[in-house]
Amino acid sequence: MKTINIYYKFLTLLLVATLAVSCDDFLDRRPLDSYTADNYPFPEGGGVYDQEIFAAYGQLKAFHVSTMGFVAAANIRSEDADKGSSPADGPTIKQMDDFQLLPSNAYVNNKWIGYYTLVEKANLILQAVENDVTDTPEEIRTQAIAEARFIRGYAYFHLVRVFGNIPLIDKIFTDVESETNVPQSTPAVIYDFIEQDLIFAAANLPSGWSSNFIGRVTKGSANGILAKVYLYQKKWQQAMDAAQAVISSGVYDLNTPYDKIFGEEGENCSESVFELQCYADATYKASTVYGSQWSQVQGVRGSGEWNMGWGFNSPSEQLDNAYEPDDPRKARTILYAGGKSYYGEDVPIGLPNPRYNHKALGNPAKMASVGARSSFWMNIRILRYADVVLMYAEAANELGKATEALDKLEWVRARARNGNNDILPKVTTTNQGELRDAIHHERRIELAMEHERFFDIVRWGIAKEVLHAAGKTNYTEGKDELFPIPQAQLDLSKGVLKQNPGY
């Protein structure tokens, strides 16, 4: 009996010992079909940080960064566009158009999250560089940092214009439980931060990329956005200098005719300073993975072949009437129901909206080749050279340099004239106020239906006057310049975040 006992004890002991050793191996299960941060085989050579960098580019064209909420905040809020679509559709966008915006509006919260995700993606690049203990050459590190800081600066520039007081996040959180409830910083602090990011980017980004990286941000992109950042702060001299850096780079010109800048044919033309790249073909189907719904949300809301999109951001009657006589830019900006498209098609009558954004209209040949009517493949123009030239003109005029301002203004008008000297007479006034009005008008027309108008009228201090004149009398000064801080974020913050005035 005793021996049996010992035998059992021994066996049990053996079993337990074996189990103890093998258990930990048995329990070690790591992801099978995805890498982890520890085992990712980063590519060799120049593109060491490309994987993180490209993730940030992916986020740049995300729906809540550059599509509906983007178009609505920048243009539908202005007098140049109506909400569009059918009357009772898209009430959340209508709230923006009507200045009846509530903090609970879903687009407001999604914009917040979308742009902070973009900030996070930029910070992830910086973290990757910082954590890289290999002997990656300094210039590669610096260039990656520059690209990250450009994207971060760009994100904050939109956030500060839309929300005003916002939290400043410049790192990846190590403890999300205790670190993420960050209080807001003032716009002055944010602008200062943006300037530093963009100055660094401008100093360290290349002037251009090889043909397989078309659309990657450059020194020109950084200086161009930086010029605009200065302009918003009325730092006229710096704005002029930054714009001048773009102009004198020699990379860009205004030689592309106005009607060829938009649509598929004008993608990455000589005018393109910063342009979000989108793609689709028969294999890489129309989707937000490779493309964007930017064109779809503004697309013609018709039937059959004209069922191209949702019909938001419809050019307004005010914009229609704002053009100088026979300005050819109007036909490339406004697509009329019952009119003719840039591609020669007859647009049907009886569409739900009288006008659509012609600049977002896709080429029917491309539609046929992709097999879709919504133009997911269309690049989103963020910064055109004409914008930079007009920024120069505006800054120069504010500095009293009328001649230089007139010169740059004429560059833009001359291109618009397209050889027809009977239209768009040269502006000659050197009166600063008159010239200011002329430049403001030129910005409105040249960049109509792009992503400038609402922000421009706010920074020029004419928003109330312009919007009330256009019948948007709900606009309240001191409140509607900004979106509310999203209620969802206020709720999560337990009082750390403060609501914007008036909401």
Binding site: A55, F173, N268, P352
Partner: protein, 1003 residues
């Protein structure tokens, strides 16, 4: 094992006692109240408990050498035990009455069995007969209303499992219980034939569930499948056929109502009226997407039992058509169970199940039928479908076209094979070693086809002409995917059983178990840019399309594993004082090394008062047990596999010109400290039976706390869109469960029973996110200490503003207009701010109750079950759809149109955004009572059948979900009860009403 011991002892004693004087040979028959023989009933002599026999296939028994003055104890599982004095008779026929809660029954408790009376935990047993005749393809669905403390949301979709919660939500993560099928851990049990279930046990308290560890914190449901019964070969056939229909439609406006309301809405925002000239139809889209579905289940089982072997064979075929068009599901199940004995001490066995299933998904969206405008016709005589009007075209399509285009375009099927082998060795008298190995393999395959789109008719609106459009850009495509699942489990445990001096009864167990789960999938699709692939399922393989066409491909895999050690001691002293204790140590691969292991355990005490001398005098008390238990259980299986690891996502791309580049970013924010969630519970209970077991009463109080809840947390937006999964805090569930039952006979032939159960559960967050300095809020579900998880947080509604004066006198002055919702100033600051939001209700029912009545007379039996919940609210999220103009639910017909017109429905103006803030306006009461099941059956008299060689024949008609009494307006008040975002009705699949006719035949 016990029985073998008894038999061996009986043999031994027989030789000693057989010379007893005047002994007689006793014969008899044991039947149930319907006259059906009870097979395998125990006949024992009271004075000589070692002696006994069992009835044969015809219910007959023979017992020799019985003293004429002795008393027989006749018992059978599921029946009330009887004591019959012999009084010198040589033939005693006995009728055993049914007893649903027999205390001497043996229950499966995990790694062994125990007498129910010896347990200190809370276990409810539901027998197979109560499940088999219910027309549910998933066996769990039949438990609804039968078990106190069990909340269930049944899905009406063909082949889908219901959501089950035991004693409330214990976690903000997945709170599904653990299923144990014949000892094997499963997350879904839809591969089991409901007709093949012997019994199901619901384990609710820590003292019962802690032995299972892993995921047991949410409760455990044990399923025991049938085995061969004692006796010769038997053949049983069970079958039902029936149909299911939608119980009720959601009330939406017809064409006239729609026109009225859309006109009103457009006028309210100053827009021109819509041109209805060509939209003259009045279509009820719900009638078009629902149908009457056929349902049937047929099972043939053969069992045979010999001296050294037992064989059980079961074949089943079931088919179910969903009430939504195209949705159907059918499966064939074959099962073979074999047990072999080698001598007295060794038993080996195997159980093999093979399943083939075939299904078709529902096509089109459920909500599209309530959203599509009724003014649109379906299709014209040429088969062209009508497009929806411009105001909803981008979001809502023709619901019928969406179904018809998918008709016959999916081929989904799958196989599942589950096999278990075991060996059991008894040694040294009191020891049993059992080892078992299980492999469970599933293969799912799906092929589908994208046909060319229908020609669509766009009706003219205003100046636009009507046109027929054929989309020439569309291409045909095929896709093909395969999934493979592999689950393995091994269990080894040693049991020690001993009785000392008739006073001490002890059962001890120590064991070891591992599980491993793996799955992989591969999928691809191609679309043909030059040819039109024919609509012929036999050729839907990717290679039918030339590889130079566009397509995409992918594959992935997942695995996880667990290791556990467990031990248990059950001790009973003098049949009166009970002690149950368990310990379990679990390791899981889902946590990072260092956090993988958790220790859990429980202690339970019981006191069978009715065994005490002073109680035995009280004749009206048949049984009385007091019990108390405490324990902890781990929870950690229902979470993602690699949450503690910094996994990377490569899904996003960057585009530069025409070049596509891959990218990488963190899939989520990992919590390296992620560890086990622990459910800690205390239970006090009373089990009792009175008046000769006719009256049953059980009462239980429980108090459970879930510590370190595993939760996905919404981070502040500045952290980006990454999700974060962590151990958060403590929540509590307190409750009471009461069960009361009565059964009796009137005269010889009429018997009846009534029973009801009621449970009350209070869910309360104790502390949440001690380290987290932000709110846990998924609008409108708020999770805060002191309230139930995910309670509804919003504004209180006081009515509708009738006049401008009323607006001006309110806190909403300047923000509202007449016709808007008037909100309460909840914080009393005389301003309308977000801090006026407050507690509006909980998505979780406070009360769950069930009631059953049954009665029988000479072979006829009638039963009715009802079930209900109370105390919860439903968020009618489907009405808060703000992206297009949709058809209106009829409540809008009462919309405010001027002073005095309505004080409940605000003005129909989608731009009055204040009316869309989350408030009581969007809530409705979730209380309901449902007539769950009505069954009428007839069992033929044996004499009538004998000539046909039939042993038993029962016919029945059954109706399920016959009527629901509720104020909720959705298809069903059974709205999802997922923890932090519960109670939202965003288009819930209806629970159908099912009528079936069935038979149960034994040869």
């Amino acid at each position: 094992m016990k029985r073998n011991l008894f038999l061996a002892l009986a043999m031994l004693l027989l030789s000693v006692v057989s010379f007893a004087q005047n002994s007689i040979t006793l014969k008899g028959k044991v039947t149930d109240p319907l006259g059906q023989p009870i097979i395998g009933a125990n006949i024992q002599i009271k004075s000589e408990p070692q002696r006994g026999t069992i009835t044969d296939l015809d219910g007959n028994y023979t017992l020799q050498n019985v003293s004429p003055g002795s008393t027989l104890i006749i018992s059978s599982i599921g029946s009330r035990t009887q004591e019959v004095p012999v009084n010198g008779r040589t033939s005693i026929n006995t009728i055993l009455e049914e007893d649903y809660q027999t205390l001497d029954e043996v229950v499966v408790i995990g790694y062994g069995t125990a007498k129910k009376r010896d347990l200190t935990g809370s276990i409810v047993t539901v027998r197979g007969e109560e499940i088999a005749s219910r027309p549910s393809i998933s066996p769990v669905a039949s438990l609804q209303g039968k078990v106190s403390g069990l909340t269930m949301v049944t899905s009406g979709a063909a082949g889908e499992d219901p959501t089950v919660r035991i004693r409330g939500i214990n976690s903000t993560g997945d709170s599904s219980p653990l299923y144990i099928v014949d000892g094997v851990m499963q997350t879904s049990i839809n591969y089991i034939n409901p007709a093949d279930i012997e019994s199901m046990e619901v384990l609710k308290d820590p003292s019962s569930i802690s032995i299972f560890g892993l995921q047991g914190g949410n409760g455990v449901i044990i399923i025991n499948t049938k085995r061969a019964a004692e006796g010769e070969t038997r053949v049983n056939f069970q079958s039902y056929v029936g149909f299911q229909v939608l119980e009720k439609k959601i009330k939406v406006t017809d064409a006239a109502g729609f026109r009225k309301l859309y006109d009103q809405q457009l006028a309210n925002i100053g827009a021109d009226p819509f041109d209805y000239t060509n939209y003259t139809a009045d279509t009820d889209w719900q009638d078009e997407i629902f149908r009457t579905g056929f349902i049937s289940n047929n099972t043939l089982s053969i069992s045979s039992s010999g001296k050294n072997s037992k064989t059980y064979l079961n074949l089943g075929y079931m088919t179910q058509e969903g009430i939504r068009k195209l949705n159907d599901y059918s499966k064939f199940i074959g099962r073979l169970n074999e047990e072999l004995k080698f001598g007295k001490y060794i038993k080996v066995g195997a159980d093999v199940i093979g399943v083939y299933r075939k299904s078709n998904p529902a096509a089109g969206g459920l909500n599209s039928a309530i959203n599509a405008a009724p003014i649109v016709p379906i299709k014209d005589a040429d088969g062209n479908y009508y497009a929806t009007p411009s105001f909803q075209r981008a979001q809502v399509g023709n619901p019928v076209a969406a179904i018809d285009i998918r008709d016959g375009c999916d081929v989904n099927d799958g196989y599942r094979f589950t096999g278990t082998v075991f060996a059991e060795i008894k040694f040294l008298k009191n020891f049993t070693w059992k080892s078992s190995f299980t492999g469970d393999f599933s293969f799912d395959e799906a092929r589908s086809y994208t046909p060319l789109p229908f020609k669509m008719i766009y009706l003219g609106e205003g100046e636009a002409e009507t046109e027929i459009y054929e989309n020439k850009l569309a291409k045909t495509a095929v896709s093909h995917s395969k999934n493979f699942y592999k689950n393995t489990q091994q269990d080894h445990y040693l049991t020690y059983e001993q009785e000392f001096n008739d006073k001490h009864r002890i059962t001890a167990m120590a064991g070891f178990s591992t599980t491993y789960r793996y799955n992989n999938n591969i999928s691809g699709n191609r679309s043909d840019t030059t040819l039109v692939v024919p609509n012929d399922p036999s050729i839907w393989y990717l290679n039918i399309i030339s590889p130079n066409n566009p397509g995409s491909y992918g594959s992935g895999a997942n695995e996880s594993s667990t290791v556990s050690f467990m031990g248990r001691v059950n001790y009973a002293y003098k049949n009166k004082y009970l002690l149950n204790a368990t310990f379990r140590r679990d390791g899981s691969s889902k946590f990072a090394p260092g956090n993988q292991w958790g220790n859990f355990g429980s202690v339970g005490l019981g006191w069978i008062m009715s065994e005490e001398a002073f109680m035995k005098k009280l004749d009206f008390i048949s049984f009385l047990k007091l019990k108390a238990s405490w324990g902890t259980v781990g929870n950690g299986l229902n979470i993602g596999n690699y949450l503690a690891y910094p996994s990377l996502s490569t899904g996003g791309v960057a585009i530069f010109g025409n070049n596509i580049y891959s990218s990488v970013y963190p899939s989520y924010i990992p919590d390296p400290n992620l560890h086990w969630e622990t459910v800690e519970g205390r239970d006090i209970g009373l089990e009792s039976q009175f008046l000769n077991n006719r009256l049953r009463f059980t009462f239980e109080l429980y108090n459970r706390k879930t510590h370190d809840i595993l939760t996905r947390v919404t981070l502040p937006g500045v952290a980006g869109s990454s999700s974060y999964f962590t151990n958060l805090g403590t929540i509590g569930n307190k409750g009471v469960e009461i069960l009361l039952g009565w059964n009796d006979k009137i005269g010889e032939d009429f018997y009846y029973s009534v029973s009801g159960n009621l449970s009350y559960n209070k869910n309360e967050v104790k502390s949440i996110g001690d380290n987290i300095d932000f709110e846990i809020f998924s609008d409108p579900n708020m999770t805060r200490s002191g309230y139930s998880i995910g309670y509804f947080y919003g504004y209180k509604k006081e009515g509708i503003f009738q006049t401008q004066e009323e607006v001006d006198a309110s806190i909403q002055k300047g923000m509202a207009k007449p016709g808007d919702i008037k909100y309460a100033d909840a914080d009393g600051d005389e301003e309308f701010t977000p801090s006026d939001r407050t507690y509006l209700g909980t998505p979780f029912p406070k009360y769950n109750y069930g009631i059953s009545l049954s009665c029988g007379y000479k072979g006829f039996e009638f039963s009715i079950d009802g079930q209900g919940v109370s105390g919860n609210h439903i968020y009618v999220q489907r009405r808060n759809y703000l992206y297009a103009v949709t058809n209106y639910e009829v409540n809008h017909l009462k919309a405010w149109t001027g002073p005095g017109t309505s004080n409940t429905e605000p003005i129909l103006d989608i731009t009055r955004s204040n009316n869309y803030l989350f408030s009581e306006h969007w809530l409705e009461r979730g209380d309901y009572f449902r007539i769950k099941n009505v069954q009428f059956s007839y069992t033929f008299k044996k004499e009538m059948l004998q000539k046909l060689g039939v042993q038993k024949l029962m016919l029945y008609v059954n109706g399920q979900n016959l009527k629901t009494f509720t104020k909720a307006t959705g298809y069903t008040p059974e709205v999802g009860i997922a923890s932090t975002t519960g109670g939202r009705d965003n288009g819930i699949y209806p629970s159908p009403t099912v009528y079936t006719f069935g038979l149960n035949l034994t040869f």
